[in-house]
């Protein structure tokens, strides 16, 4: 079974600073997909960034980037130039290539302080 662990229940960062959210996962698969989702108080899960396990290059989307360490089964999210609007719950998720459902971690609550 695949499990996703987010060891930081809460994080805070000053506006314009950089913060890194941690995620580890456990799988025996060699190919899979990893995601970071943002969930603001509106409750809608918003895709932030995704990574395909067979790609060695770390994904980047504007201020968001990941550090994907396949051997260590680690998938951290770095947010640069943090903005007040980044305040939200962040969930790391895993999707096995042949499976249809997505497995989520317990989440990290990020607060960006002015």
């Amino acid at each position: 079974a695949q499990t996703v662990t987010q060891s930081q229940p809460e994080m805070s960062v000053q506006e314009a600073e950089t913060v890194t959210l941690s995620c580890t996962y456990d799988t025996s698969e060699s190919n899979y997909y990893l995601f970071w989702y943002k969930q603001p108080p509106s409750r809608q899960m918003i895709l932030v960034i995704r990574q395909e396990a067979y790609k060695q290059q770390n994904a980047t989307e504007n201020r968001f980037s990941v550090n994907f360490q396949k051997a260590a089964k680690s998938f951290s999210l770095k947010i640069s130039d943090s903005q007040l609007g980044d305040t939200a719950m962040y969930f790391c998720a895993f999707m096995k290539h042949e499976m249809d459902d997505m497995r989520f971690g317990a989440g990290t609550r990020l607060t960006v302080k002015p």
Partner: protein, 117 residues
């Protein structure tokens, strides 16, 4: 519509009452998922539809939970004889992939917050 729409946004039910939660996915999306998110937790998979076929219901916590998607578009999650432990946010997501393996991730709705009193 442009996004996944869920209704109602909030639902308060008395213990023992039956409830029905609606999900209207993105038009043309063949795959539809239901997730349950308890307070302070990540979403947990409940069930998956491909068009009108329910291909996986392994996540449904009990036989009080029932989901349907009769015409392959709108889906309803029904909970019979609600219990306090059913209190959670119920999220619906859709995907255009035939198999659900959509590398861009799913599109989620804003969920229904169910409170059982």
């Amino acid at each position: 519509g442009a996004g996944v729409s869920q209704s109602p946004r909030y639902k308060v039910a008395k213990r023992g009452q039956d409830v029905a939660l609606r999900c209207d996915p993105i038009s043309g999306h063949v795959s539809l998922f239901w997730y349950q998110q308890a307070l302070g937790q990540g979403p947990e998979f409940l069930t998956y539809f491909q068009n009108e076929a329910q291909l996986d219901k392994s996540g449904l916590p009990s036989d009080r939970f029932f989901a349907e998607r009769p015409e392959g578009s709108v889906s309803t999650l029904k909970i019979q004889r609600t219990q306090q432990e059913d209190s959670a946010v119920y999220l619906c997501a859709s995907s255009s992939s035939l198999t659900g393996r959509w590398v861009y991730g799913y599109t989620f709705g804003s969920g229904t917050r169910l409170t059982v009193v």
